[in-house]
């Protein structure tokens, strides 16, 4: 055997498709290796004779490389570029080597070769499936303190990253007429066929290059060419067509409703030095009119004693490593098969100079053509035999072969064992699309039966084994019509599912069904014995198929073993659901652009930068960033708020009210519409006037509130709470469009049209006077609750005389782009007069001093207008409004409902805790009877004491009573009061 020394002693000169001159260096567990470009980590390590790659989940058994693809259950590794770019649980059979890659094995301590956890293997008789349900219960506390932490540490495979991922990820929505999943012969042909008809086509394959099975199957010719070469040429043709998108290194991971598919494209994981602009991965969210599934099939392993040693590998994998990567998986290779396909692997290896110990075929009569070829190559075939055991510690060293039915066992030295139990059609995506499967009894496999979406399966995943038939099927699926010839050397037959000879119900050997989770055939039998008769119960009890490969290899075997135990046909035992994703998908990919500033829009008002410039601290209110308070040098929050509160009442304050929701209600029936939506009556409101309105839903609970100004007979300027704006508009549209469509009225959101500058306080008029034109704002001409369209600094404005502070106040609405200039001018005038800027915290305190409620804080969706002391806003004259009936329900009119009242602490210095619960007797035993809770509580600088609002059962009748608010560390005595703490006669607002 001739080898290329630097890229591995198992590299075979002339074999494979990689270029010997193009190398890459990487390390595995600290040791440096040379690979060829195009190697996977698996092929590169195999080239150096490294088979031991990891340890299993439960027993920590040494494990190697089983497959050459995404179905790999064993060879999971940790791949890193640097400390932050570290990825656990990567399949070595998928990860392409790049120069500088740092690869590490997982789930072992202190080292891969000597793993302390392997002691679990000795205790494995104890750790049978489901053992933990039966023990670890005594003493009661020990589960939490001892057993569970121990189990948690032992479980888990890779180590999660501990640093923030510096890479970025992209998202792309796309549409196509036909999406073809899989670019083997079937997928390429279907894509070619669809593309020829002019349809827009996506052709998607998870491998770096198209070709699918042609990667290993060198004996197939298409259109007279070597299959793999045909595939590459066809892909090039397709890529050149404007209506075709070819995506490689891209997995269709989910097939969802209505032709919607999730794809993940791996953009840089194979690149040594990726450009900074490149996303690491890209999520494609594709809506396809039609889907062609050409996902092929996956080879199964044989289930026999100790079938998990490093060096035991699927036949197609060994053939891929040889024919694509140019790597021999051993020098003395055994074959154990129930299917013809493994023979071709043996033939290829033999021709490449590898010694074949024997082909052990559990079938009595393999096909004559295969036997003839084997004879010709000098390979011994033991038909009707089985491998009943293997030897070796960190790698297989021998196989024990026996004639079926017993006797005649002998040990044969091997350094690799190639296995095949046949092929499982990849119906995962079909099943995800909610198609229904049928069981093909002859070939022991599930195949697509009833389609739920516009979708068609072709080729291996449809159970179509004959190449010519497959090509015809694919052409038809694409909608085109042409001829294409294809030939392969052998027709494959055979296959088995379930435990092989020597691992049957009468044995106690460890014959692995699910490698990663260490589920053996006997575990599955135990589950059945314990009454788990549904395949879902068996799955959950044994965890078969629940590892990171999601049962791609193990499900069918598990099912067959269960069926045998239950003595039922397989379709009656059922099949566990194939859930998305097909292979694991990085969170970052699913998140895409939605991180940091793009996680959720941070809405800023037009004056945001000016507020920030004045030192504002901001708070999140819904999506909005609102100025919270404006600390001056040395001030903490309380000091700043106290100063702002004082200043507003003594001089004036300027406040940014822009986030308030605004809706323009226009049309001849506008007032009539508002009559139905609000509890108040609107017909009597004259143009130029505004009114505070309450909105309920049909249930009669307060939904939103705000000031509504009438600008003209047919035009209202409605305001809502900041957070309520979108839902209020939706609620109004719902009634307008579906209940009251006869009304001639239209709604438009104008929240963002207007920048709102509130000027509140005794000097408010003096401050704004010079800027306002077109309206007389004297107290007489423009009293409280007036509204006018006018001009402020020469721009068209809407001026409200309105107050949420109880002071003389105005709210200037100017078109948003003018907000900053107007704000600046007003502040420049106000500041020298002794006014302040104030934020939401001061706004909250000032309104609480006046007993004005905040919907969502003092009410919570269970409060009626009457409960909130706003019964005056419910019209008793209107024949109808939304909420009129709900308000009359028995529980809404009963005595003793919680009502909003004021609370004053007996000790004026104590500020209650918002959310504090109120009781009549603080010394009662728990559970206590609670009367209500504190909804708002502040230090009121203007009152010189603390104040609070609360919802209290029968609250208004309790005014004057003493109640208690028991907090964690003390109980506060309070008196129930009315809700107005400042300027009780309300004179200031009219000043």
């Amino acid at each position: 055997m001739s080898t290329s020394s630097n890229s591995g002693t198992f590299r075979i000169k002339g074999a494979g498709r990689l270029t010997p001159a193009r190398t890459a260096r990487f390390t595995f567990d600290g040791k440096s290796y040379t690979a060829l470009e195009g190697d996977t980590v698996a092929s590169a390590l195999l080239a150096h004779g490294v088979h031991l790659l990891g340890r299993s989940f439960k027993y920590h058994r040494p494990r190697g490389i089983l497959s050459a693809g995404p179905e790999e259950p064993n060879a999971l590794i940790d791949v890193s570029r640097d400390a932050a770019r570290r990825q656990p649980n990567v399949r070595a059979t998928v990860q392409e080597v790049f120069d500088g890659a740092k690869i590490a094995s997982q789930n072992r301590w202190p080292s891969l070769k000597f793993d302390v956890g392997a002691i679990n293997n000795l205790f494995s008789p104890f750790f049978a499936a489901g053992f933990y349900y039966k023990t670890f219960m005594w003493p009661r506390e020990a589960w939490v303190k001892i057993y569970e932490p121990f189990i948690r540490r032992a479980a888990g495979l890779g180590v999660a990253p501990t640093e923030e991922d510096p890479d970025h990820y992209a998202n792309r929505y796309a549409h196509c007429d036909v999406l073809v999943a899989g670019a083997g012969v079937a997928g390429l042909t279907a894509a070619l066929s669809a593309a020829a008809t002019g349809q827009s086509v996506f052709l998607v394959d998870e491998q770096p290059e198209v070709g699918g099975a042609l990667h290993y199957d060198t004996a197939t010719t298409i259109d007279g060419q070597n299959g793999y070469d045909w595939a590459q040429a066809t892909a090039a043709r397709l890529k050149a067509m404007p209506n075709v998108t070819v995506l490689t290194r891209t997995t269709v991971f989910g097939y969802y409703n209505h032709g919607f598919l999730g794809l993940v494209e791996r953009v840089t994981d194979h690149v040594a030095k990726p450009g900074k602009d490149l996303p690491r991965e890209r999520l494609w969210q594709v809506r396809a009119k039609k889907v062609v599934l050409a996902t092929g099939s996956i080879e199964r392993h044989m289930v026999f004693a100790n079938n998990d040693r490093p060096g035991i590998m699927l036949a197609s994998a060994a053939r891929t490593f040889l024919n694509h990567h140019g790597v021999a998986v051993g020098r003395q290779v055994g074959i154990y098969t129930a299917h013809d396909s493994a023979y071709e692997t043996a033939f290829d290896l033999k021709r490449a100079g590898v010694s074949i110990a024997a082909i052990v075929d559990c079938r009595a009569d393999p096909g004559e053509a295969l036997l003839a070829e084997a004879r010709g190559l000098g390979i011994s075939v033991l038909s009707g035999h089985s491998v009943t055991d293997t030897g070796g510690r960190l790698r297989i060293s021998s196989m024990t072969v026996a004639r079926n039915g017993g006797g005649d066992a002998r040990k044969i030295a091997v350094d690799a064992l190639i296995v095949s139990a046949g092929w499982t059609p990849s119906v995962h995506l079909f099943s995800q699309s909610r198609g229904k499967l049928r069981f093909d009894d002859v070939n022991q496999r599930f195949l697509p039966n009833i389609y739920a979406q516009d979708c068609v399966s072709v080729g291996g995943c449809n159970g179509t084994d004959d190449l010519a038939e497959l090509i015809d099927e694919a052409i038809a699926a694409g909608g085109g019509s042409f001829a294409l010839s294809g030939e392969n050397r052998f027709e494959w037959t055979g296959g088995m599912i379930g435990a092989a000879e020597g691992a049957g119900p009468d044995t106690t050997v460890k014959a692995f069904v699910d490698f990663q989770h260490d589920v053996t055939a006997k575990d599955i039998r135990l589950a059945v014995r314990e009454g788990m008769h549904s395949i879902e119960h068996i799955k959950r009890f044994t965890t078969n198929g629940m590892a990171s490969d999601q049962g791609k290899l193990s499900n069918m075997h598990g099912l067959a073993i269960a069926a045998e135990m239950l003595d039922r046909p397989i379709p009656q035992v059922g099949l566990t659901t194939f859930r998305a994703p097909y292979t694991p998908v990085t969170y970052g990919t699913l998140v895409g652009h939605s991180r940091g500033e793009l996680f959720d829009p941070a809405r800023k008002t037009p004056m945001h930068a000016l507020e920030a410039g004045e030192g504002a601290e901001f708070e999140d209110v819904g999506n909005w960033k609102r100025a919270w308070y404006y600390p001056k040098r040395g001030e903490d929050m309380l000091a700043a708020v106290n100063r702002e509160c004082r200043t507003v009442r003594e001089v004036a304050g300027v406040f940014n009210g822009s986030t308030l929701g605004k809706i323009e209600v226009v049309g001849p029936d506008a007032a009539q519409f508002l009559n139905l939506i609000y509890t108040n009556a609107w017909g009597s409101l004259k143009p130029g006037k505004s009114r505070y309105g309450i909105m309920t839903r049909e249930d009669g609970f307060v939904y939103d509130d705000g000031v509504v100004g009438r600008l003209a007979e047919d035009r209202f300027h409605v305001t809502t709470t900041t957070g309520g704006a979108p839902r209020v508009l939706h609620h109004m549209e719902d009634y307008l469009q579906t209940e009251f469509p006869h009304l001639r009225v239209w709604l438009t959101s104008t929240t963002e049209q207007w920048a709102v500058i509130a000027v509140q306080g005794p000097k408010a008029r003096e401050i704004i006077q010079p800027f306002v034109e077109g309206v007389d704002i004297s107290n007489e001409a423009f009293p409280h609750m007036s509204v006018a369209e006018c001009s402020v600094m020469g721009v068209p404005a809407r001026l409200f005389r309105v107050s949420f502070t109880g002071e003389l106040g105005y709210e200037i609405n100017v078109p948003a782009d003018y907000g900053p200039a107007v704000w600046k001018a007003i502040w420049e005038r106000a500041e020298p007069m002794g006014a302040c800027l104030y934020g939401t915290e001061t706004m909250h305190v000032l309104r609480a001093e006046k007993g004005y409620i905040i919907v969502g804080q003092d009410t919570d969706g269970t409060v009626t207008p009457y409960d909130a002391g706003l019964g005056w806003a419910v019209s008793s004259k209107k024949p109808d409004f939304v909420g009129i009936r709900g308000l009359k329900r028995p529980d809404l009119v009963r005595e003793g409902r919680k009502q909003l009242v004021g609370l004053l602490t007996k000790d004026p210095a104590l500020v209650l805790e918002e959310g504090g619960q109120i009781v009549a007797d603080p010394n009662q035993a728990k559970p206590m009877t609670m009367l209500g809770h504190v909804t708002s509580a502040y230090w009121s600088e203007n009152c010189g004491r603390s104040i609070a609002l609360a919802l209290v059962a029968g609250g208004r009748a309790r005014i004057g009573e003493t109640l208690y608010v028991p907090l964690k560390d003390r109980t506060i005595e309070v008196e129930v009061t009315d809700m107005v703490f400042f300027d009780k006669d309300g004179g200031r607002i009219h000043g």
Partner: protein
């Protein structure tokens, strides 16, 4: 029934575990039972167990359309807590939590109740007000729930990002230390085993297709895919399918069934010590004993019985998870799935009598049913046995939708002003 113990396991280990008996029997149905419970999830199986154990009623069948524990019991993210706001809710969830604490021993089945703590993150003033309202109410009711500063929260959950520069910075958290998780399948299996041991029949793969009523309107039994089965009393506990079953008796319940999705990551070494929830950014996360990060997503917006949902629900949830825990961006989603939740208008459950004599209902648990399993089952058994609700479940009646006396936990956490 053979008791489970470490000695039993050791003994079986020496004989290849061939001596274990079936955990529950799979009998053919009798012609009639004293009580039929429709739905073999945790609630239904548990109710049967408590009927037998606490009320001496053992002639009971639990009828299941599919496989036991295959509905929401086996699909949820296994969060357990009792720090609800209203007394009606605290009553039932705390009753449940107390039963969780001794459930493994009671059932002789390790349900792996793990009180590792449930932490709810507060991101703004409104959250803080709401959480403190809960914390105070819980404390006065005798339920543990405490306020943590951001630093204390970070100390409890090291991966948490408490940077002030985050899009939604964390300003504190509420922690219920007795909250946590349990192994969902074990709950169904443990109840099934214990109920079966006391004589309860568990009839799987038997679909209820009708409810037969007598001339007086009272229930006579159920029509099923295995024929008519008589019963004096019927308890419906069918989660997402409850309204379908109730409709068979002509009873309408205010439910809508929506998909709820969840996902797990590949297994990882321990990194996440408790359960973390955030209402503001809509996410919750914990790590299973196997090492998978278990993440609950939101509900899809429409009614559906499909047990599937949109990818956008998953991505939206992961946006939030990765914002709270940026180091998880390279972690991979291994499996996603969906269940059907039955939601009531006030997001609180319905458990009580119905207008049909002999018919009892337990439904509307929405996204919170798992944590309530032992408590709900225990009180449902009381309801069925006595014909009237237990004091702790009295407020969960159907009549509240007529009177307006709702238990509106959702409204209580109302949207920000």
């Amino acid at each position: 029934m053979r008791r489970y113990s470490v000695f039993a396991v050791a003994r079986e280990a020496m004989r290849a575990h061939k001596g274990w008996e079936a955990q529950w029997a799979s009998p053919e149905p009798r012609s009639a039972y004293d009580v039929i419970i429709v739905g073999a999830g945790g609630h239904g199986l548990g109710a049967a167990y408590y009927l037998a154990k606490e009320h001496g009623i053992t002639n009971v069948a639990v009828i299941e359309k599919g496989w036991l524990g295959g509905g929401n019991t086996g699909r949820n993210t296994t969060i357990i807590r009792s720090n609800y706001l209203y007394e009606e809710s605290m009553d039932i969830y705390e009753h449940s939590l107390k039963l969780w604490e001794g459930l493994s021993q009671d059932l002789n089945y390790n349900v792996m109740y793990s009180p590792r703590g449930v932490m709810m993150l507060s991101h703004n003033t409104h959250d803080m007000q709401s959480f403190k309202r809960h914390i105070n109410a819980n404390r006065l009711y005798g339920i543990d729930n405490e306020w943590l500063t951001p630093e204390q929260a970070k100390a409890f959950v090291p991966p948490l990002d408490i940077a002030k520069t985050a899009r939604y910075p964390i300003n504190g958290a509420a922690l219920q230390r007795r909250g946590g998780t349990a192994r969902h399948d074990a709950v169904a299996w443990g109840y099934a085993r214990a109920a079966s041991d006391r004589g309860v029949h568990i009839i799987q793969n038997c679909e209820v297709t009708g409810i037969r009523r007598g001339p007086n309107g009272d229930v006579l039994g159920v029509e099923t895919s295995k024929g008519f089965i008589g019963a004096k009393k019927i308890g419906v506990s069918a989660a997402g399918h409850s309204s379908v079953v109730m409709e068979m008796a002509g009873v309408r319940v205010p439910l809508h069934s929506t998909p709820l999705q969840a996902l797990v990551s590949e297994p990882l070494k321990p990194i996440f010590p408790c359960v973390v929830m955030s209402n503001t950014v809509h996410a919750y996360i914990s790590q299973s004993d196997k090492g998978e990060l278990v993440i609950g997503a939101g509900t899809d917006q429409y009614n559906s019985y499909s047990q599937t949902g949109g990818l956008q629900i998953i991505t939206h949830t992961l946006d939030a998870i990765c914002e709270l825990f940026p180091m998880f961006r390279r972690v991979k989603m291994m499996r996603q799935w969906g269940g059907i939740t039955d939601n009531t208008p006030d997001r609180s459950p319905i458990q009580g009598v119905t207008p049909v004599p002999g018919l009892f209902v337990n439904c509307g648990w929405g996204t919170g049913g798992f944590k309530a399993t032992p408590g709900s089952a225990n009180l449902f058994a009381h309801l069925i046995a006595k014909g009237e609700p237990h004091r702790l479940a009295a407020g969960l009646n159907l009549d509240r939708f007529r009177t307006g006396r709702l238990i509106d936990e959702a409204a209580a956490a109302a949207v920000a002003h």
